[in-house]
């Protein structure tokens, strides 16, 4: 989308020059975002949007399963659950009860890198939400009975997402095999034996280390003014003391020396195939080119892999690719559902052919244009809701250290060249750089055994 990017750039440059002579140009998107860092180190970012009388407040803590080790795998995610289970002023069950009784709703998610708490509420509840967040950031309680009950909840979540879901099961196995050293090999939900055995003191230590204001960022988007939000943050959050910064993750994943393979045998009607390629951290300069390459390979029915695997050779039901956004070098994934009765090796062979082709011949100008147009349209789609804006701001601030990079992103995609895409393809999509996982229906596996 050359057009929107140009528009953004023009607005940014043109306004100071011509603003006084003509009718003022419309302000560039994002020009009304304001931020302030509290004395305890927590940054607050505010984007007023008065379309609806509601507010999205997201609190991003820089902690996830990469901060775990054997014995406490899954603890960050379990902790996310415990953050709703009572503090000092608001006891067990009151956080949700009080929020909902005032028209608000919440959720949270944990991944390998971050834990994000999301509140959506009418603006009438703004100060109350600060009160609730401050209470749990400072005074979380850990009731033994609640911890035991919550173990059951989290194990049930694991059963649905992993144990009884073939895609989730294979994903966990491939992820674990792709990393030998770095804690990215730990599944976010945790290994079952750890879910059953982590202790009260593990939680207390985790809270003190990671749930400090200096390890968090607050994003507020909606029917508010920056001044009122900053004032509330000073009242409710600023008195919470900072903590020593958590230890950095020291371990670096050594270079992969050859292709790895994982096979899962399971009751199934359709086989699955997943490939995980090592790729860069969020700030890796190759990522803009990589994102466009993934679009060309796998987004939409005109993409290269969809056409070959699904439309032309009819060996797969679907195919998708995505890159993990992560603090440390992580993975770029390819997942495909294989049609019943088709050997996953056939699917793999076609993928290999397509990867070889893009490495040797690169992409066309039309494909590059398509990918930037898709990126541009998706940028505007992320701007449709206060929730989407809060998610985007938090993502860029947390992983790039600067929310304003969000508004540069369309232009950055626009600047990517075909040569850069070809180069990144050659760098990432090597067999020695990947782990290949297949889920094979048990019946098929048994038949192969007898042969």
């Amino acid at each position: 989308m050359k057009k929107a990017a140009t528009l953004l750039t023009l607005c940014l440059i043109a306004m100071p020059l011509f603003g006084q002579k003509k009718a003022p140009a419309p302000p560039a998107i994002g020009s009304d975002v304001a931020s302030k860092t509290l004395k305890n180190g927590m940054k607050v970012i505010v984007w007023p949007d008065h379309d609806i009388p509601n507010v999205a407040m997201f609190v991003w803590y820089r902690v996830g399963s990469r901060n775990e080790y054997a014995g406490i795998t899954g603890l960050s995610h379990f902790f996310e659950h415990m953050m709703f289970n009572g503090a000092k002023k608001y006891g067990a069950g009151e956080f949700d009860g009080v929020m909902e009784a005032n028209g608000g709703r919440n959720n949270a998610y944990t991944n390998q890198n971050v834990t994000v708490y999301q509140n959506w509420f009418p603006r009438t509840a703004l100060e109350l939400i600060f009160d609730l967040e401050a209470d749990r950031m400072q005074h979380l309680a850990f009731d033994e009975k609640v911890i035991e009950s919550e173990r059951g909840v989290v194990y049930s979540e694991r059963r649905s997402g992993v144990d009884n879901n073939n895609n989730g099961l294979l994903y966990e196995q491939v992820q674990a095999a792709a990393f030998l050293a770095h804690p990215y090999h730990i599944p976010v939900i945790g290994w079952p034996s750890d879910i059953e055995s982590w202790k009260h003191e593990d939680l207390v230590r985790f809270f003190k280390t990671y749930y400090a204001p200096n390890n968090a960022t607050m994003i507020v988007v909606g029917d508010v003014t920056p001044a009122e939000v900053f004032k509330l943050a000073e009242t409710w959050i600023e008195p919470i003391p900072a903590q020593p910064p958590p230890d950095p993750i020291r371990t670096k994943e050594p270079e992969q020396l050859g292709e790895r393979r994982v096979v899962v045998e399971k009751d199934a009607q359709v086989p699955l195939i997943q490939m995980a390629y090592h790729s860069g951290a969020a700030t890796d300069p190759d990522n803009d080119a990589l994102d466009l390459l993934l679009t060309i390979l796998s987004r939409g029915e005109s993409s290269r892999l969809y056409r070959r695997l699904v439309a032309e050779e009819r060996v797969a039901l679907d195919v998708s690719m995505f890159r993990a956004t992560a603090f440390d070098p992580s993975l770029t994934w390819l997942t495909a559902t294989v049609l019943a009765g088709i050997d996953p090796a056939r699917v793999e062979k076609i993928i290999d052919e397509e990867m070889a082709k893009v490495i040797s011949d690169g992409v066309t100008e039309a494909e590059l244009q398509k990918a930037t147009n898709i990126a541009a349209a998706n940028f505007w789609r992320s701007m449709r809701t206060i929730s989407g804006k809060a998610q985007s701001l938090g993502n860029y601030e947390t992983f790039y250290g600067d929310y304003s990079r969000l508004f540069d992103q369309p232009a950055l995609y626009d600047a990517v060249t075909r040569e850069e895409i070809q180069k990144v393809a050659a760098k990432i999509f090597r067999k020695t750089n990947r782990t290949v996982g297949t889920l094979v229906p048990k019946q098929v596996a048994a038949a192969q055994e007898t042969n």
Binding site: E100, L126, E127, R159, E301, T337, A366
Partner: protein, 470 residues
């Protein structure tokens, strides 16, 4: 950007000032006003709704074509679903690949699916591409080429996607079984399955498109960055000469609650958790008690602190989640409790769910819960009408069910004027008594077969059986 003109005065009274645990009960939140939109009916019967919005440079489209799965011939369930896919695989001057290129190359989105009573079309394009968007919509609906080789691919994929779903998270599957088992021979129970899809020929799909697609079945809404007057002229030019549908309009007869208890047990031998739905037939979209039903359902199983989630998750840790849902269409759809628990606690969780249902029916909502639900429902309503796509879908929904803007604009005040007695009356009308319940259990039958018998006469099928009901 003032897409939703809400009278702010009332809200500002309670803006930041105090942090008591509850804003005053009398806090009267304003009703949401739908922004201005144009509604016209073209001479060929097409209903056109247009709303200008300029916050992002996008245009959202939502369309409904009356018919959907209701128009599937008996025994050939899934014809409408295949048609919805196949019209995107070649139309006008483009073949399947060229069509995909046309959508993707400008970053557009377009999808078609067959719902129970209508085929729905959703699209969103950059505003500058509105001409292309109209051309593509017109091509798929008026000039689909329905190529035979694409038909083979589409029908194979429909079957395979059901198989893949059966290997995936069972939470997505239970509603399909519940619907098929509860409604049985009523058209609402018709479900595309591996076996019905296997009987469908290309000719069936061609007949469906020929008979069911037409201007008089269509409701179109466009919301986004355009000039309503000139865009209306473009839409008229594109669709003004679209013919009416030639076949009879499919309609469903009344749905009636099932009497007695019965259980469908779906065997998934490697399951470590049992996934269940319990319920019956509920209410229609246009029911005059619909707002009171929302109040009751939020309290029962429609939010985190609902009665069901409190008992099955928060207090007992039996499940990651428990909820209740209402499916409301032209006729009453399902009302159901949905949850899951590890195999060993299946009976315990089912008993607890029934106990909560009993309590809802006997005690209703206390005053505190009612007040909480009222604030919750009103507070969470504006974000449901925030995007162009949401507004377009709402406009076609109102038109489809013969409702007007007051359905949206009086929602908050109706929620706020709900009283305990009225809610109690609707609870007893809507939620089934314990003797009239249909159960679906997806799990390891060898482990839960005996438990299942406690709840009614059991019918058992395998998850690999190519259908969703016996």
């Amino acid at each position: 950007m003032n897409r939703m003109k809400v009278a702010l005065a009332a809200l500002l009274l309670f803006a930041a000032g105090h942090a008591s645990a509850e804003t005053p009960v009398t806090a009267k939140l304003a009703d949401v006003k739908l922004p201005r939109y144009e509604q016209v009916r073209l001479p060929n019967g097409l209903t056109l709704l247009l709303m200008e919005r300029h916050d992002v440079p996008l245009i959202a489209f939502h369309g409904r074509l009356r018919g959907g799965a209701l128009a599937d011939p008996q025994g050939k369930e899934g014809v409408g679903a295949i048609a919805a896919e196949l019209i995107q695989k070649g139309s006008g001057k483009r073949n399947a690949q060229q069509f995909a290129e046309a959508v993707d190359s400008v970053g557009g989105q377009l999808s078609v699916s067959a719902g129970r009573e209508a085929t729905t079309i959703s699209a969103e394009f950059m505003a500058k591409d509105r001409g292309l968007m109209l051309e593509l919509l017109s091509d798929i609906l008026r000039r689909p080429s329905l190529p035979k080789e694409e038909f083979e691919k589409v029908s194979q994929r429909e079957i395979e996607s059901i198989r893949a779903a059966k290997d995936g998270d069972p939470r997505n599957l239970v509603p399909r079984y519940f619907n098929a088992f509860l409604f049985a021979s009523h058209p609402y129970g018709r479900a595309a399955s591996e076996s019905s899809l296997g009987t469908i020929a290309h000719e069936d799909v061609a007949n469906y498109v020929r008979d069911q697609f037409g201007a008089d079945r269509a409701i179109f809404a466009f919301v986004g960055a355009f000039d309503a007057k000139s865009f209306a002229a473009e839409v008229r030019k594109t669709f003004g000469d679209w013919k009416k549908a030639s076949g009879a309009l499919a309609a469903a007869g009344d749905t009636k609650p099932a009497t007695g208890r019965r259980v469908l047990l779906v065997d998934k031998p490697d399951a470590t958790q049992t996934y269940f739905s319990i319920g019956n037939v509920g209410m229609a979209r246009t029911d005059s008690d619909r707002v009171l039903a929302d109040v009751a359902n939020i309290a029962f199983g429609g939010r985190f602190t609902s009665m069901l989630n409190t008992e099955l998750r928060i207090k007992s840790g039996l499940s990651y989640g428990a909820s209740s849902s209402l499916v409301r269409e032209t006729k009453p759809g399902t009302v159901s409790i949905n949850s899951y628990t590890k195999t060993e606690t299946t009976g315990k969780a089912l008993d607890l769910a029934l106990e909560v249902l009993g309590r809802l029916r006997s005690d209703g909502l206390d005053a505190t819960t009612l007040a909480s639900v009222q604030r919750y429902a009103v507070g969470q309503f504006p974000p449901t009408l925030e995007t162009g796509g949401q507004l377009a879908a709402r406009l076609t929904e109102l038109s489809f069910y013969g409702l007007d803007r007051s359905d949206v604009e009086t929602y908050a005040s109706k929620i706020q004027s709900a009283e305990r007695e009225g809610v109690q009356r609707v609870i007893n009308r809507l939620y089934p008594a314990e003797e009239n319940l249909t159960f679906v259990l997806v799990g390891n039958a060898a482990e839960i077969r005996e438990v299942a018998k406690k709840y009614g006469e059991v019918t058992e099928i395998k998850i690999t059986d190519p259908r969703f009901a016996p």
